[in-house]
Amino acid sequence: MNSDLVTTILTISGLTVSRNGNRLLDNVSATVARGSITLLMGHNGAGKTVLMNCLHGLMAYDSGKIDAPPRAQQKMVFQKPIMLRRSARQQLKFLCPLLVDAKIEALLARADLIHRADTPARTLSGGEQQKLALIGALATHPDILFLDEPTAHLDFEATKSIESMIREAHDGGTSILMTSHNRAQAERLAQHVLLLDKGMLVESAPAPQFFSAPSHPLARHYLDHV
């Protein structure tokens, strides 16, 4: 077996995306190690969400190549969780139609949402919605989980809870690629960091090295401002 397949879950080669004359991603090449938590960082408009959408197959790209697990083995949680006009329990059943009721209840309990199971999903708090989306994504044990700023706008308690679920998923063998603006959070979670700037990958480094001694001037500048 090719050793790259064992150690790498995601390979991006020369990915370029343009829309309306603007280059959103410019020849991005990177790898994500299997079983790792990789943080995708960068200022607003750097191309983080565009890259994630391309990797998950939600957005077409102009050129380049992506080697990723099949769609069925990928899951994505959006920055603003997309909630149906249904109860929390029904939302979870929609996300995981093959799960039996007992498993649904167990998942709700695991996310501490059992008391909110019959509440309309759209009226849950931001943290509760994110937890619901996360347990729905993790229920089928995906190979890779894409998280687009999963704790943006959440309070400390909700953030702590989401981070704990992320670590649990990682311990269970799921590779995680997530975007974040939060340096403290990135330092808590990341094993590897990819830094995008204006659509270009300017740094790819193990987290300790990225935070202590970034090699690229733009990375140093970025860290000075987050």
């Binding site: 939600l58 899951k75 994505m76 997309i82 006009r85 309309p120 759209r122 009226t123």
Partner: protein, 235 residues
């Protein structure tokens, strides 16, 4: 003219459940509700399909549907008359001057409304849900079914708009139904005929019923919408 006299007669006809009047009301509701039902069953999935997918012929369906949206009812009635009359291509069905032809006419008038309004609703919903649906790999069938399910509150309003158009229609059902007493006479055609014959009491009675039907349907719709909104299932 003294309008109170026909009003009093109209009310007495209504409260006494006068059989012919009840027959006309029943037929009107039956024909219109059936036409609305058929239009929603066809129009809602089609509206969702048009909103969610790009496919060959999509533009043509939208153009045809929008054209029918502004089609004068008498023209629809005339076309159906030509199609289902004895010499027409569908004359063998033998439905001219029957409630079936009236349902067909109302369906053709109402279907474009169901398609146009639902497409509008589904386009907004699809923009919201497409990333999630694509992410979890929903099949085309489940995608459409989910959109229809998520739009349920708006669909009540669409159904109401369709019913309003159907129940108030007179030109097409007059042509294809023939306004035959005890057979194809509905509220609107009766009002037209009664007015022209000077039977104002019957015309007013039917007018009151039409208003009451509109009022009741609106009240029920508001109650359902209110309940759903109270429970957080707002659009």
């Amino acid at each position: 003219m003294d309008i109170l006299s026909p009003l009093q007669i109209a009310l007495s006809l209504l409260v006494s459940f006068e059989p012919e009047l009840m027959g006309i009301i029943g037929l009107s509701l039956g024909v219109s509700l059936t036409a609305v039902g058929i239009s929603l069953v066809i129009g809602l999935p089609l509206g969702a399909l048009l909103a969610a997918y790009r496919f060959p012929g999509r533009g043509a369906i939208i153009v045809i549907s929008n054209t029918f949206l502004g089609m004068p009812p008498v023209v629809v009635g005339l076309v159906i008359y030509l199609l289902v009359s004895r010499a027409g291509p569908f004359g063998f069905l033998g439905i001219l001057y029957t409630p079936a032809a009236m349902m067909l006419a109302q369906t053709i008038l109402v279907l474009p409304i169901a398609i146009a309004l639902s497409r509008q609703v589904f386009e907004a919903l699809n923009a919201e849900y497409a990333p999630l649906f694509r992410s979890i790999g929903l099949s085309q069938f489940r995608w459409i079914a989910s959109l229809v399910s998520e739009a349920r509150i708006s669909l009540i309003t669409i159904g109401l708009a369709c019913f309003g158009r159907a129940i108030s229609e007179v030109g097409a059902v007059m042509i294809v139904g023939g306004n035959i007493r005890h057979s194809t006479r509905v509220m609107t055609t009766s009002i037209a005929q009664a007015t022209s014959m000077g039977e104002l009491a019957l015309a007013v009675a039917l007018g009151i019923v039409l208003l009451l039907v509109a009022l009741i349907v609106n009240i029920l719709t508001q109650i359902v919408r209110g309940r759903l909104q109270d429970h957080g299932y707002e659009l």
